[in-house]
Symmetry: C2
Subunit: 287 residues, 2 copies
Amino acid sequence: MPIRSIAILGTGLIGGSVGMALRAQKFPGPILGWDKDQEQLHIALQRGALTEIVDDPISAASAADLILLAGPVFTILDWMEQLAPILLPHQLITDVGSVKNPMLQRAQMLYAGAGRADFLGGHPMSGKEVFGVSYAEANLFHGSVWLFTPDKQAPQHPLAAEWRSWVERFGSRTLDLDAERHDELCAWVSHMPQMLATALSALYQDHFGEAEDMRAIGGRALREMTRLGASPYSMWRDIAHTNADAIGSAIAALEQRLAHLREHLKTPDLRDEFNRANAFRNSPPFK
Amino acid sequence: MPIRSIAILGTGLIGGSVGMALRAQKFPGPILGWDKDQEQLHIALQRGALTEIVDDPISAASAADLILLAGPVFTILDWMEQLAPILLPHQLITDVGSVKNPMLQRAQMLYAGAGRADFLGGHPMSGKEVFGVSYAEANLFHGSVWLFTPDKQAPQHPLAAEWRSWVERFGSRTLDLDAERHDELCAWVSHMPQMLATALSALYQDHFGEAEDMRAIGGRALREMTRLGASPYSMWRDIAHTNADAIGSAIAALEQRLAHLREHLKTPDLRDEFNRANAFRNSPPFK
């Protein structure tokens, strides 16, 4: 049974890009869209991310074989709650949230079992420091990885393989991870770097304000290391809240590392630290 | 009296790029080169960064109107020491070192006064995480800023204005700074970000090693934030040593900022921190 129709709840940067990627890859059926922000929704339609707008999330989800939840973490959890009683076993829900263990926990309560729809956690590693469907693009996922965190205890839903093949047609590599490992890894390689860029940018703002000489000499390094400082709180609040332990551990480890380096600016330990850093960058995919 | 000839001591990434930029801008006179590494020197000649190779730094400097010192900080200080007794008042020495106060101190001892050559501290903000003349390019300085730290107490040397105009022809904006302010600013916007990228990369190396899942999901954020982790110790040892106090203060400030953010991952203080970071990125030149 193929995916005949898709509903996208949340038609912003990621949801909109998924719609555009589906249409670029000639998905033949309707793509129904809903967003609480009417402007985002209409821009999404104009940009070809949807084939039609639906008035409420329940109607959109009910009418589709595959339902994509594309919002902040707590919004996704809330949608999961609302949709569980009304969806049917032939339907598959998937999401694009940046943490995965809270969804898996919720899915095991709400979606496992006879007579119910199924849930497959997903996470495209394709963010930007901007948000909104105006920045959406059909090739956003090209060359990046799309993580899945299936419930290993449960059989695969009949539509899951087809959804994975659409994701691959977007140009993503797919990779399955245990949900807890996903959240731990993302704390280190995505969430902590975001918090670091935020802390660094905020520090510069407090230390220098609008000082002209600082802004005149800031070069590529400063620009790169603070790029994510432009990320809005609204995109990160739920992630920080639901993955706080793992993010906190990663930040604490970085603090210790910085203190060590600071205490050894004039000793041979600095060379050892540069050598370790060089080793990290001299292995794929960075080399 | 125009600059008829230029000597470049240290023909690596920066020295080589200066030679290539001079020739691209049709500098009409000889460009003499010396480097302790014969291979770098011959590649520099092959790539058109020099018009001739000279056997030792003293002969190269003696034969030129303008002498560019392009090496690590302690090497520059050492060259300043060696050249002081033999250079003449019509000659101007300048450099491209990443700290400036140690050079100014040395210059005030060695170069100020009647019968002596003059010294003008310079610093192009155009580094890379790689080194060597193979990476040199004529347009390396295009669009970036080239800082000068003249001794405000001394009159400007007759060749200084012409050298500044060559730098502007390379496509750089020039900016004069007090040498101490230079070192303080660079500690914050260049040296601390380098140490941060090194600490972060080294931390990843220790925490994950060659773990395949981490390397598979590392995206743009990770790549950007660790790019400078590839920088070699040899380029940074002298900077860390000579600017340790200012770099240490900036790192300590970042540690505190990270600790504060870590303690507030679930509180409204996180929003305030994102807002401050957004403000930093919403002003030029970052916006």
